[in-house]
């Protein structure tokens, strides 16, 4: 079983891809179908760093785990915060004959809708989204992030002493909004009198602004914070400075604050990747929306073993998770 993961910085990479694409186009590559004995070639285009402890890393980690079950070859272009760069990379990977191309970011949908029809033999997946553009070779993936948000919110509701909780969000879309709305509803389920201040800073990457947003929450009296996306490393810094507890999402954010991180909701894209790989190996294209949740293993909780979480709060979290799994608890997010 061979697994190769390469993380390339985008500039040198993109230049190479353009050349490859031109050469391949000039040669008029004929599709001869994939060799069943060859490794599955998977390419990923991510908006931030592969080790961002957030959205991009969650997919990198999932690919790592997929490599333990399948013979795969992985190539990653990260840091494509410029959508046009990502589009070049996506097209380049398709042109280069990768079996599966992951456009890991809801902002890449417009580009993918134009690129995917040109490469009907390639399996494309993108997310978070619920749109496949009506194409058989496009899969979209989403997560019920409100579920883990709700669980985090329940714990936050129990742990806050000031009865003020702060949220630092990037842009009010997709799984971000789901997580934050779920979190707020979770807090309110404990005590509707708790104030949940939500601050969308309109940026996925402005670390300085995230830090100041977190500071604004602390100034407003918040003693519990949460946030989503790669910019939250700024917010966790403020949380560390003030000893304010933090709840994470997307990846395990314990390394960002071993004394203050309580728990993180983790995106395990293994489920969605497994479905797409199964289709690939079966030789069928059945583009569809694949949604992860706690029941199918697409979501899970990671608790910081270094944080002294009161047993009653942990029990409340576990009960909430069980209730979400069996449907007896609704997160209130539509």
């Amino acid at each position: 079983m061979i697994k190769t993961i390469q993380t390339l910085t985008r500039k040198s990479w993109l230049a190479g891809l353009v050349v490859l694409a031109l050469v391949a186009a000039a040669c008029g590559d004929d599709d001869e179908g994939r060799d069943p004995d060859a490794p599955i070639r998977i390419a990923m285009v991510g908006p931030s760093a592969s080790n961002d402890l957030a959205f991009t890393q969650s997919m990198v980690d999932s690919l790592d785990r997929l490599g333990q079950e399948h013979d795969i070859e992985v190539d990653i272009t990260d840091g494509t915060f410029v959508i046009e760069d990502a589009a070049v990379a996506i097209r380049g990977y398709a042109e280069d004959g990768f079996d599966i191309v992951l456009a890991h970011g809801s902002q890449f949908g417009g580009s993918l809708s134009e690129i995917a029809p040109d490469y009907p033999d390639t399996y494309f997946a993108w997310g978070t989204s619920a749109d496949t553009f009506g194409l058989e070779n496009v899969y979209s993936y989403s997560v019920k992030a409100d579920q883990g948000g709700y669980i985090n919110g329940v714990m936050a509701g129990h742990l806050t002493e000031s009865n003020i909780v702060g949220v630092v969000g990037p842009i009010e879309v997709g799984d971000i909004k789901a997580y934050i709305d779920g979190f707020a509803n979770g807090v309110k389920s404990v005590d509707s009198a708790i104030t949940v201040n939500i601050n969308y800073i309109d940026s996925f990457s402005d670390v300085a602004l995230a830090a100041e947003a977190a500071q604004a929450h602390v100034d407003a009296g918040a003693d519990v914070l949460t946030g989503v996306s790669q910019m939250t490393v700024g917010a966790t810094g403020v949380a560390n400075d003030h000893g304010v507890i933090w709840f994470g999402s997307q990846s395990d954010q314990t390394p960002l604050g071993e004394d203050i991180v309580v728990a993180s909701q983790i995106y395990n894209w293994d489920y969605q990747l497994g479905e797409i790989v199964d289709d690939l190996l079966a030789g069928v294209k059945n583009g569809r929306v694949i949604t992860a949740d706690f029941n199918n293993g697409g979501l899970s909780m990671a608790y910081n073993p270094g944080f002294a979480l009161p047993s009653a709060v942990r029990a409340a979290a576990d009960e909430t998770e069980a209730g979400i799994r069996d449907g007896s608890i609704s997160t209130g997010y539509e």
Binding site: G79, Y200, I201, V207, E212, Q230, P255
Partner: protein, 310 residues
Amino acid sequence: MSDFFTATVLLATLASGIRLATPFLLAALGETLGQKSGVLNLGVEGVMLLGAYGAYYATLRTDSVLIGIGVGVLVGAFMGVVYGVVTLALKAEQGISGIGIFIFGLGISDLLFQKQVGTPTPIDGLGHFSIPVLGDLPLIGEALFQQNVLVYVAFLLVPALWFVINRTTFGLNVKAVGETPEAADSLGVSVDRTRYITIIVGNAMAGLAGAALALELAIFQQNLTNGHGFIAIALVYFGAWRPSGVMAGALVFGLIQAMVLQWKTLGIVVGTTASIVGMFPAVLTILVLVVVSRGTGAPAALTRPFERGH
């Protein structure tokens, strides 16, 4: 809205705005010096990134923010030497060279971070330093005089740079070189030497700006500066090449950002309205660039290479 107009919130906004303004101010002051001598550096963003990474990594390894600051400044100064050689010795076009420096800084800082650090790891950054007596003043003491040390450095550099530019022989040479390099040369002023100095000092300040950002946030991440360097360049025009004007621009930009954050936090603006309000800083900058800066002349020789006899 009444929640906003309380002393506590207003002072928190003031403190936040000053913190946000600091990296812009440091980088813009450095760029002002360079542009006064006729050299445009669009690579400020890249130099800031390198300075930020250098400061972060040095602090991570040594647990000393002083060493971190020093490394940030040295990295910036080194990039100044590089940019000086490219634009002065090799006579490369300044705009394109600056973009090259930006891309280089973006790529190398990320590459080094990936190879040397990997996962974002918090460091002990710049703590807050309370200035004796002033820091204890009621109301404004905490907002103005309990900041990190680089905030004070940045604002002290404003009069210092004004003095250098307007009250020293070197400053007069800088202005002469930026306006009419041929005349300055004919009077025995070394155009290249003057420009080398302004470029190196200006880039060192960009490196310091990156260090200020990384050490205030106590972490590094890919593309940490997120456009700070480009805004700093805009602030030079905003401030009409005057240190005080640049400071005013940086403060306006930072304070508006801080105000918008407070409004969002307090729920004064939500949803689409919040997104529209969030564009205020950028819109204001553009408006000022168009309206206020009109008629204010840039250094006449800005972006113009100098060759004796040409």
